[in-house]
Symmetry: C2
Subunit: 251 residues, 2 copies
């Protein structure tokens, strides 16, 4: 047990990096059978538990597929996925050192219509807190946020003034969620939105819709409209998750 720490800090890390490298480089293409646990055990001179830990995490990350008795094979890449980080405006501004303000344009409690009922899975007529928020950085409008909050799930929202924190930030800190759905689309700005965002009518805007649930109970729906020429979503991604997914949403 001397050479176990040569070059890499931990044995299972070294094994994982080895196997990942072989998969990523194409040396082991999709469908290739990976050595059995007992073979890797011999190759690296370690116990099966160590090898097993590595293989389990690789399987959890979708790099390999495992079947009892048949062994492990390199997984086929099926479809690309983009992981996009959506920054909190206040945080983003603080980091960039720019001034940030927000303004609640509308606040009301309304019964949802049929379309919203279908999107959220709630019965028509359910009462929701409706908020329109304009996010402004350096006196330039950055985004228009139209939000519905389910008062049945988050009753405290009804008494919240949203003076210090915008609704999104407040919710993120306060209400945990278990499921989220995102839709990204491009639309032409209508005259109302164009006026708010100070762009020309018809300008392309990026719209991000997010709906979140907590254990099946609908929490909130946000529809954030960004001026197309001022904002885009960026994501950096490694297929193995090994360093986590970094990235930002920037100007």
């Amino acid at each position: 047990m001397n050479e176990k720490t040569f070059g890499m800090k931990h044995l299972h890390q070294r094994i994982r990096d080895d196997i990942e490298a072989r998969i990523m480089s194409g040396e082991w293409p999709p469908g290739h059978r990976i050595p059995f646990e007992h073979e890797l055990m011999a190759e690296y001179g370690c116990s099966r538990m160590t090898v097993n830990k590595v293989m389990s995490t690789l399987a959890a990350n979708g790099l390999i597929t495992r079947r009892r008795r048949a062994g492990s094979v390199v997984a086929k890449p099926s479809n690309q996925q983009a992981v996009l980080q959506i920054q909190d405006f206040a945080l983003e501004a603080a980091r960039a050192g720019t001034e940030y303000r927000f303004k609640i344009l509308k606040r009301s409690i309304e019964a949802i219509d049929a379309a919203a009922a279908q999107r959220t899975g709630l019965p028509t007529g359910t009462e929701m807190l409706c908020l329109s928020t304009l996010h402004v950085m350096n006196d330039v409008p950055q985004a228009l946020e139209q939000r519905l909050i389910n008062l049945a799930t988050v009753p405290e929202a009804g008494e919240q003034s949203f003076k210090d924190d915008p609704p999104g930030t407040w919710l993120l800190r306060r209400v945990p969620w278990t499921d989220a759905e995102h839709i990204v689309r491009a639309v032409n700005a209508d005259s109302a939105i164009a006026k708010r965002l100070q762009v020309q009518t018809g300008a392309a805007c990026l719209v991000l819709e997010r709906r979140t649930w907590q254990a099946g109970a609908f929490v909130t729906e946000a529809r954030i409209t960004y001026p197309g020429e001022r904002h885009h979503l960026i994501g950096r991604f490694s297929p193995s998750f090994k360093g986590g997914a970094g990235g930002q949403a920037v100007s």
Copy 2:
């Protein structure tokens, strides 16, 4: 060891679901200290390795933060992230039962300009295979794909006819990647793009740019323009990864 399999198939699964539920429900808010491993050990009547496995995976998924001696705490949700699946056109069409065609509009080998050099991190003048592909489903143009392929990394691409598979599909199956960068933006269609996609000039389009690298070596850049009213990106996401992230890119 009789009650170990009550209700749940595996012990570590039961422990993990228990802890996740407590975090998700808000019973253990961000910052809350989770019981120490030896406490959980006693609570569930199992060995430390089993508890450790659960806690390690929770930490890997970002739900908790662990520090030696200090213990584990529920992680603060920092910024939302959207995981969007980008479907392969052929696959999507096959599943939806619609007819799919693609047409290579342009194919040339060019030296990249300064802007492309900056994006890719390669020196100006590097030779790239440039392809423009139109994706058509049921005789309706669905997307325009402008792609650069690094011939230094993927020399086989130079002799590839792309008769059977569009460049994206061919590359996905053939060249592994280790890092990817995605940018999503909204733009107004210029006259050339509008004509190709059969939309009005100025119509909002969703543009997805993806650049991929293989161990630091640039592989390819794709710029896919979708007509805004015909396409959007959808993603469904659970913070725990427990069921994996499902989702599709649809009409």
